[in-house]
């Protein structure tokens, strides 16, 4: 079991002929993912690692002969909104947006359209998601052999605002003999398609998932939203959180952005200290050190067993 992806998940890559997209396609194919087409306007008829390239999403859908589940969008920021609209309005229900530096207004438009059409967006500014030994959608974990090393199947769901830290944390869970059910790089921007709280019901419904790890940063209200979700829903899943960027609470760091576009302290409520307090008040365990995550997860799972 897993969330959002399964063995049969089919997806396309929009912007497939770009350098990064070519690598990502290779990695996903090697991992066993089913990439059924790629789209780059004007490049119809080419192939990328055996994947046929089309001018439009509609052509890819027609060639596939039925609905396609997902799309990985990796086109320049000025074209991303249109690409995501094209995917959603051609019936695609899961869109991973890799591109960074997209203006917030465009992201908000994509998200609003997705909501209306019953589609889900992961990202932008993310590396996608992975279900160990089942499916990898996006650059998450890197080449198939590296992804295999960091991600073993297990009971822990991972959600992270940092793509790199998704793998760092998952690798530590794998090394500790725990493993991962599904890991989602949710993206580092101020507005993203799927927040922690919005993905929690999926993990809640997934029998394989027994605990959750989240990686968080200063900036935004996503952690407060999760804390509210936890208070309002009687979740069976213990959550362990790690907060990076505490140094940004210093007065002289005010107004500066570090790491990701969304990581900027704009108000009192989005400092690391304030977020930690909110998460803890909701019963979420916030670990001080990154290396405590596997130990605390083991404790939590032991208590449940």
């Amino acid at each position: 079991m897993s969330i959002l992806l399964s063995k049969g998940t089919t997806f396309i890559v929009q912007g497939i002929t770009g350098r990064e997209a070519v690598n990502l396609t290779r990695e996903c194919l090697d991992y066993g993912s089913q990439i059924v087409g790629g789209v780059t306007p004007g490049r119809k008829g080419r192939e990328v690692h055996g994947v046929p390239v089309f001018d439009t999403v509609a052509q890819a859908v027609e060639h596939h002969g039925g609905p396609i589940d997902g799309s990985v969008v990796t086109v320049p920021p000025a074209f991303t909104k249109d690409a995501v609209f094209e995917a959603i309005l051609n019936g695609i229900k899961l869109v991973v947006v890799v591109t960074e530096r997209i203006p917030r207004g465009d992201v908000a438009q994509m998200v609003e359209l997705a909501d209306r059409e019953g589609a889900r967006i992961i990202g932008p500014n993310c590396l996608g998601l992975i279900v160990p030994e089942v499916c990898k959608m996006g650059g998450i974990g890197g080449p198939a052999k590296d992804a295999a090393k960091a991600y073993a199947p297990g009971p822990v769901g991972v959600m992270s605002r940092s793509g790199g830290m998704t793998t760092e944390i998952s690798s530590s869970l794998t090394q500790a003999g725990l493993g991962v059910s599904t890991a989602v790089s949710i993206g580092g921007d101020a507005i993203i398609g799927s927040t922690y709280a919005e993905l929690m019901p999926f993990f809640e419904a997934d029998k394989q998932t027994k605990a959750i790890v989240i990686y968080t940063e200063p900036g935004g209200r996503m952690e407060a939203q999760l804390a509210e979700w936890v208070k309002d829903n009687d979740s069976r899943l213990p959550i362990v959180a790690f907060m990076a960027g505490k140094f940004m609470d210093d007065e002289e760091m005010k107004g500066m952005s570090f790491g990701h576009a969304g990581t900027i302290v704009e108000g009192k409520e989005d400092t690391a200290t304030e977020k930690i307090a909110r998460l803890e008040a909701a019963g979420i365990r916030v670990v001080e050190r990154i290396d405590q995550i596997p130990t605390v997860i083991k404790e939590k799972l032991g208590v449940l067993a």
Binding site: G105, P143, R161, F258, H260
Partner: protein, 405 residues
């Protein structure tokens, strides 16, 4: 990107929102002329990108053009919170009957713009929201569909405002919401929005911020309408030499991305670290174990040897840096061996022993075996993913402190 008040007023004006007949001046003579043209009492306001200008003496009233010129002269020389003014705004002293607040911000949870309105204007809206929550109206708008006036009307009516005031304020708030969306603002605020004694409404002060990611597509507004120069980026802090040098190295080569910041950092341990989340985690880990970072940095996207070398050299040449720690979260794109070559090269070019200078090298992932071989050759201490980011940072701190002691 932040705007001065005179620019924010212009943006509001372009959106069809009434403003008073103000003048932006950079000399006392211009201020005298502006005051003479306005005729009657005026207010002179410092144009700085910081708050608290009233308290600092950056806002003064004048009854005559000569008085206006004298105030302008003083205000133009007045530094406020470390900022020198860009100029002064000369504004007619308005006969205000009532002050309101109109604003639009992003609601990140709803993922939509949020209109805010209050009949208690002129003061901080967060303060009003806390002390008089029933005096603040809120309303979300769509990102996809045209913004209808009635949504602004509902937001205003929620505060109890009715009559001609409601009808006059409605198009102003609706236009503010539209300009927020069309111009990629992250904040659009009119405070106070004033009802004058004749019943008309004008924006007496405005505050606007535009999203940095959108600056490229808002050129028409920025360059043509507001005449803002391309290099006038209005960062919160002036870049240090270190920051400028790192940015130049990054720009010189398209492969990979490096970033360096040192505002607020003055320690002895240089950080050559990555990627985004890894850098945040590592900077905390160094500080929480008693270390003193000399800088913040980010490496990502598989930089060239020259780029990694350039960043390491800049860090090593900062005042007070004794050692560097080269650490990243597990990499899949960036090659470990390339970063290893880069940082060793930096040490050698500066005549330093890599084994002594690099406190720790912790980058697991792509091409790590090749990287570790190179590090072995130069006697650099390294570790793989079995050593956590916390522990690696701790080892680096212990080493640099041992060297100092």
């Amino acid at each position: 990107m932040r705007f001065f008040e005179f620019e924010a007023r212009k943006i509001v004006e372009l959106a069809g929102i009434p403003v008073t007949r103000y003048g932006f001046c950079t000399t006392p003579e211009e201020a005298r002329a502006a005051a003479a043209e306005i005729g009657g009492p005026v207010v002179i306001k410092s144009q700085v990108l910081t708050g608290g200008r009233m308290k600092a003496g950056g806002v003064k009233f004048a009854d005559t053009p000569d008085e206006a010129a004298a105030h302008a002269e003083a205000i133009l020389k007045l530094e406020i919170n470390g900022h020198m003014p860009r100029g002064v705004l000369v504004d007619p002293k308005a006969e205000v009957k009532q002050e309101y607040y109109a604003g639009v911000v992003w609601d990140g949870t709803a993922k939509r713009p949020l209109m805010l309105f209050s009949d208690m204007g002129g003061i901080d809206i967060e303060e009003v929201a806390r002390t008089h929550p029933d005096h603040v109206g809120r309303g979300h708008v769509s990102n996809l569909f045209p913004i209808p006036d009635f949504e602004a009307k509902q937001t205003i009516a929620a505060t109890g405002v009715t009559g001609s005031q409601l009808n006059r304020a409605t198009p102003i708030l609706a236009r503010l919401a539209r300009l927020f969306r069309e111009n990629d603002m992250t904040l659009a605020e009119i405070n106070p929005l004033a009802e004058l004694t004749d019943g008309s409404f004008v924006a007496l002060d405005a505050h606007m911020e535009m999203e940095n990611e959108a600056v490229g597509r808002q050129k028409r507004l920025l360059r043509k309408e507001l005449q803002i120069a391309e290099d006038d980026t209005r960062e919160v802090y002036e870049h240090s030499e270190f920051e400028e040098n790192v940015a130049a190295i990054d720009a010189a080569d398209h492969r990979g991305v490096i970033q360096g910041k040192d505002h607020g950092f003055t320690g002895n341990l240089g950080l050559v670290i990555g990627a985004g989340g890894g850098s945040l985690t590592l900077t905390d880990a160094v500080r929480n174990q008693g270390g003193k970072p000399a800088n913040y940095s980010e490496i990502g996207g598989n930089p060239s040897v020259a780029k990694a070398c350039g960043l390491a050299k800049e860090v090593l040449q900062k005042d007070g840096v004794e050692k560097i720690a080269v650490m990243m979260s597990i990499v899949s794109n960036t090659r470990v061996d390339i970063v290893a070559r880069g940082v060793i090269k930096a040490c050698l070019e500066l005549g330093k022993d890599p084994g002594e200078t690099i406190a720790i090298f912790r980058i697991p992932g792509a091409w790590e075996d090749e990287g570790f071989k190179i590090l072995d050759r130069y006697g650099v201490e390294y570790c793989d993913r079995s050593v956590s980011l916390w522990e690696a940072a701790g080892r680096a701190v212990a080493k640099v402190q041992g060297a100092t002691a």
